[in-house]
């Protein structure tokens, strides 16, 4: 996978986030502050604007630019969290021009570790980590078996979707929803939902 693959991923994320903006905001309205869809949409729109001005030389450089832009432009907690994830993903990939599924899996593992550290969140806290961590495991397992990108990304996207759905019965222990205590039960976590969208976009682009 080269820089153009990751550009296509970012484009697909931008499209999906815009399309699902209202659903994400509705999820956030139930247990947060009703801005997750709008914030992510603003962030990825800013990413597109940044990419219109410069063409990064490698997948790593592209993902670092995505992360830095999300950190500066999102405005909510998802900015530092997704920004850190993309930046760590890019930093770990370095300046390689081509990335294998196994290298991408290792970099995504570094990204979820960085997110866990920043947010002090563990699996089961009802956050994006509940979608991201199982996706990283599924991707790593598929890559270790020598799966092609399309199969590996499909496994990761399915694991993220299952992880996001599994946040519904959880009580939030991190993030804005944790202020609601038991009232956070019965709702899907918006950050887990958007993580599933981002990995779903990876599956879409990998299947082309």
């Amino acid at each position: 996978m080269d820089t153009s693959f990751f550009l296509a991923w970012v484009d697909e994320i931008t499209r999906v986030v815009a399309a699902e903006r209202d659903r994400l905001t509705e999820l956030d309205a139930a247990i947060g502050d009703a801005d997750h869809g709008a914030n992510l949409d603003r962030g990825f729109t800013a990413v597109r604007a940044a990419l219109a001005e410069t063409t990064p030389a490698s997948p790593g450089a592209l993902l670092v630019l995505v992360g830095g832009t999300l950190i500066r432009k999102v405005g909510g907690a998802s900015g530092p969290l997704y920004g850190t994830a993309f930046r760590q993903l890019g930093k770990t990939l370095g300046d390689a021009g081509e990335v294998s599924p196994a290298e991408f899996a290792a970099a995504l593992e570094a990204a979820v570790d960085a997110v866990r550290r920043l947010g002090s969140a563990a699996e089961g806290d009802k956050t994006m980590v509940d979608a991201l961590a199982p996706a990283v495991r599924a991707l790593g397992a598929a890559a270790a078996e020598g799966a092609k990108a399309a199969e590996a990304f499909d496994a990761a996207a399915r694991a993220a979707e299952e992880g996001a759905a599994a946040t519904v019965p959880l009580q939030a222990r991190k993030g804005r929803a944790s202020y609601l205590g038991p009232r956070s039960v019965g709702h899907e976590d918006p950050g887990a939902a958007s993580t599933a969208l981002i990995l779903g976009a990876l599956r879409t682009v990998g299947a082309r």
Binding site: D35, L81, G175
Partner: protein, 124 residues
């Protein structure tokens, strides 16, 4: 003198707490408010926080006091060991303690400790 940066989701809240802390702690302490997003909405702007850190840095270190959520995460991204540090404290009480102690020309560690003691101070 140690500088203090107040990071809130709300520009008005950050500005008012900064004004209150300066009124109690003395106007000579470098205090900056970094509230709200770049377009004036509720949220956190890393650019505003970075500019505020620069504005209050007199070489003795800077204390970041975030309110919650993205303010905390943004502060964590801008931490620098031994020079830009986060105080995990109640927003108003922590700000006042930090500014009062900074005004006595205390070093960074002492200002941080004073801010953190604010968590234990009971009102009744």
């Amino acid at each position: 003198m140690v500088g203090i940066v107040l990071i809130s989701h709300s520009a008005a809240l950050a500005a008012e707490v900064a004004a209150l802390a300066a009124a109690i702690g003395g106007p000579e302490v470098p205090v900056a408010a970094a509230g709200g997003t770049d377009d004036g909405g509720l949220g956190t702007s890393p650019d505003k926080v970075a500019a505020a850190i620069k504005a209050v840095d007199r070489g003795a270190g800077v204390i970041l006091i975030p309110d919650l959520g993205s303010s905390v995460l943004t502060a964590r991204l801008l931490e620098e060991p031994d020079s830009v540090v986060i105080a995990d404290v109640p927003f108003v009480e922590g700000a006042i303690s930090a500014v009062v102690t900074a005004g006595a020309d205390a070093p960074l560690a002492a200002v941080l400790r004073a801010a953190e003691e604010a968590r234990e101070i009971r009102k009744l």
